[in-house]
Symmetry: C2
Subunit: 510 residues, 2 copies
Amino acid sequence: MSLRYPPTVERWCVFEVSLPGPSDGNPYTEQSVCATFTGAQETVRAYGFYDGDGIYRVRFMPSFEGAYTFVIESSFADAQTGTFAVMPASPGNHGPVRVSGTYHFAYEDGTPHFSIGTTCYAWTHQPDALVEETLATLADSAFNKIRFCILPKHYIHNFRDPVTFPWEGTPVSVEGLDEQSFLDGSWTPVRPNEWDFTRFVPEHFRRIERCIERVMALGIEADLIVMHPYDRWGFSKMTKAQDDLYWKYVVARFAAYRNVWWSLANEYDLMAAKAPEDWERYAAILTERDPYRHLRSVHNCLHLYDFTRPWVTHCSVQRVDVYKSCELVDQLRQRYGKPVVMDEICYEGDIDQGWGNITGQELVRRFWEATVRGGYAGHGETFLHPDDILWWSHGGTLHGESGARLRFLRDFMATLPTCDMRPAQASWDVPCAVPEGEVMRADPSFQLHYFGFFRPRFRDFTLPEGARYSVQVIDTWNMTVEDRGMHEGRVRVELPGREYIAVCLRAIRN
Amino acid sequence: MSLRYPPTVERWCVFEVSLPGPSDGNPYTEQSVCATFTGAQETVRAYGFYDGDGIYRVRFMPSFEGAYTFVIESSFADAQTGTFAVMPASPGNHGPVRVSGTYHFAYEDGTPHFSIGTTCYAWTHQPDALVEETLATLADSAFNKIRFCILPKHYIHNFRDPVTFPWEGTPVSVEGLDEQSFLDGSWTPVRPNEWDFTRFVPEHFRRIERCIERVMALGIEADLIVMHPYDRWGFSKMTKAQDDLYWKYVVARFAAYRNVWWSLANEYDLMAAKAPEDWERYAAILTERDPYRHLRSVHNCLHLYDFTRPWVTHCSVQRVDVYKSCELVDQLRQRYGKPVVMDEICYEGDIDQGWGNITGQELVRRFWEATVRGGYAGHGETFLHPDDILWWSHGGTLHGESGARLRFLRDFMATLPTCDMRPAQASWDVPCAVPEGEVMRADPSFQLHYFGFFRPRFRDFTLPEGARYSVQVIDTWNMTVEDRGMHEGRVRVELPGREYIAVCLRAIRN
C-alpha cells in the first residue's frame, strides 16, 4: 500500500489521494488513474492525473459530512481502497457557487453570492512577488470572483514570457517583438516554438492551484479561462487530440476546488481555429469529468455564445455595443433565462484602447445598472504603467477610483433583505429593482431606484397603498446613505442634483 | 387704389401688400385673398390672410433681385396690380436654409448652415420683458435655430395662460391646477373652454411674427411647431375643418419669412386625436401653400415619423432610447437618406423628468457625437427656477454650462474647410468624421476623431501615405485647441487622459 491521503478532510475542500507509478514512457498519455468516492449521500467518480516525478493524484471534493470510502484504480497497479472522514465546513466555507432560482447565485449552503468580479488574465503567470502583491490587493477589495487564464497571454503590455509554460518545450523567441511590430503584424520570430503537447509541466498547474487556494481563502471564486486567442505559442491552435488531452488534464487537476468556475474561453469567437462543435466537445468533456457541476459559460468578443445550450449555467458577456452594456442586462435575462454576468464592460483606465479607458464613475455606473436590472458586472483596470503592470493582466496594485465604490455597493447590498434583484418597470427613465421573488407583489420589501447620469433635484414616489416605507438616498459615488424617514402614500424625495444617486424604499412590516 | 406696399424690398425679405376689405360677417371664413408675384426668374402665387380691423394682407418672399409685378385678387374687390423692385440681400441675409447635398444644410446663397438648435417651446407666449430677456440670451449664444410652438403649452412648469390666445373666446379656468392635480389627472376645471375656432386673434400671430423677425435679425432659424399635444384648451382636438383653417392661416402668415422651418408637430405620436392621414393632409396644405419650400419635418415622442415621405426634408428626432441618442445618427442617415437633426436629446438641467436632468458635459458629448456622425443636435435647458421660468419653455436666461461649449463647437467647426461631416469607420471605438464629399478619398482634407467618455493617454494614427497632416488636440469641454505639429506616416498623439477630447488631423496640401 503506497497510497497517501489524509484521514480527514473538510466538507467542500480538496481530498487528495496520491500514489506512485511509472515515470518512464509518457505517463500523461500512457497511464490513467481514477477513483470512486462513496459516502452515505453520494458516490462520485473522479479522474486523476500525473503530477510528475512518478506521482499520480486523484482529487475529490466531498459535498457531505461523514464517513467515506474510496476505491482507486489505475493502469499500472491493482485497485486499492481507503477510508476518511469529512468534517463540517469551517466558517467562511459555504461550498461551491450554484445558480439560485433562475437568475442568481448562491453557495451550496444557501448563502447568497452577489457577484462582484474582476479580471487579471495572467496574474498567475507573474513572478511570485507580484502574485503576492495581487493577493494583498484582492484581500483588501470587494471582489469575490476573479477571471484569469490557465494559458499565458500574448498581447500589448503582455510580451514577457510567463514564469512557467504548461507544456515541455521551447517558446518562440521574443526578439524584435514590441507594440509596433505586434500591431502592424511585422514581427517575425527568429526562433520558432517547439512544444511537446503530450507532456505537461506540472509546476505551471501547481502555481495556478496555489492561486486558486489563496483566493479561496479570501472568499473569492476562481473563474478559470481554459482557452483564449491571445497566443504566440500555438496553444490556441492545437489539434483536437491535443486540446482534449489538455481539457482532461485541467479538469482532473482543478475540478475539486470548490471555488472554480469554468470559462471555456475568453473571446471564443476570435479563436479562428475552433469551430462551434469544438466548444461543444469541450463542454462534453467538462460535463462528463467535472462531477461537481461547477458553473460553466463562454465569454465572447463580438458575438455572444449560444447561452441557451443546456450545459451553459450563466451568461458571461463582453458588451458588444460601445454605448450600452449593463443597460441590456434585463433583455439578456429575458432572452436566456439564466444569470447574466457582464464580465467585460470596459475597464477603468487610460490606455489607448476603447475597452480600457473609461472613468471610475462610468465603470461604477455600469455596475449599478447591472445590479438594478437583476444581473452582475465585472471590474477591470488598465492604467498605463512604467513597467507594464496593468491590473487587467498582471494584477499588482489598483490605481483607480472604482474599487472603493464597489466595496460600497457590496456593503450596501448586504443591508437588503436579499441581493437577488429583479428589474421592475417603475418609470421610463430610472431603472428599479425589487426582490426577485416579489415582482408581482404590490408591496415589495424594497424598491431600489438608480438614477445613473440623470440628476434630478427631487423625485416623487407613490408608495403601495396601506404600506409604510423608509426612504434612503444613496450617493453611490460619494458613498453616503441618508435616511429620509418613514412615509406612506405619495412622497417627494429631495435629491442632491448630482449624478449617480440611488433611492431605496424599504417596506416596514408590522 | 387702396393697396399699400413698399416700392422696394430686400431679396429674401418679406414684401407685404395690404388692402382694406370687409370686417363684417366672418372675414376668416367668408373672404379670401391671394396674389401672384412675377419677376424675371419666378412667378409665385401666395395666399393672403385677414389681419383684423378690416385689413387683408398678402406676403411674398422674392428669391431674385430685379423688377417684379404683382396681381392681387380677392373675394371682395376687383383684381389690382402693382410693381416693386427687389434689392440685393444685405450682409447676413443668406436666404432660406435648404438641404444641401443629401445630409446637410446650406442657405440659398450657398453659405453652409451648421445647425445648433435650441428649444424654447412657449417663449413667444411670455410677457414682453421675458421675451426681450430671451432675445438678449439668444444674441449672446451659439444657437442658429430655435424650436417653438405657435399654440400655447400646458404642462408642468407651464400652467400660466399665454399672453395671447390664437382664437377668440374664453380659456378654461386654471383654478385648482397644479403639478399634483395635473400629474394624477384629478384636476377638473370650474369653467370650460369656449372658443370660436373660426375667428383668429391676429395679435397672437403678430407676436410670433415679431419674434420670427427678431431672431432672423440674429441669424437664427425659426423652427415653428404648428401642433402639439400639451393642451388644456382643445387646440389639439379640433375638427378637420378647424385644423385646415388654422394650417392655412399659419402658412399664409408665416411662409414668407425666410428663416421659417416647419415642424408639423412636437411629439406627433402623443396627439391621440390625429391619425396618420391627418399629418399627410397638413403636409399637403404646406406643400401646396408654401411656395418657398421651407424645410419640413415632424418631431416624435416614442416612434419616429416615416421620414421617407417625400415631403419630409429632414429627420427631426427625439431620441427614443434612454442611453443612445446621437450615437444613432449614422444609422438614421443610412435609413432615411436625409439630414438628421437630433432636436431633443435630453436637456441640461435638474428637474425630476429623465428628459431634462443631464449634465452639461453629457449634453455637449451628444452634440459632438451627432457632429462626427454627420448630423446635428439640439440644446435645451431645464433647471428648476423659483418662478418656473425654464429655458426649455419660457426662454429667459441660461444657467447651465453647455452654452459656452456649443459656441466653442460652432467656432471650431468654422475653422474646418467644410462643416458637412460624414462618418468614416476609422476604429471600432472612436467615431470619426471626414468631409462629406471625401469619404472615398484616401487622403481626406481632415479627419475629426471624437473620444467622448473614452480617455486614453495617447492614440496612434496612421496618416494616408504620401500626405502631410497637422495634428490638433481639442478639449471640447475645457475649450482648448492645441497644435501638435505636422506629421507623416504613423504618429503617436499624446492625450490628456480626460474625457471629451477630439483629435483633428488636417491635410496640408502643397
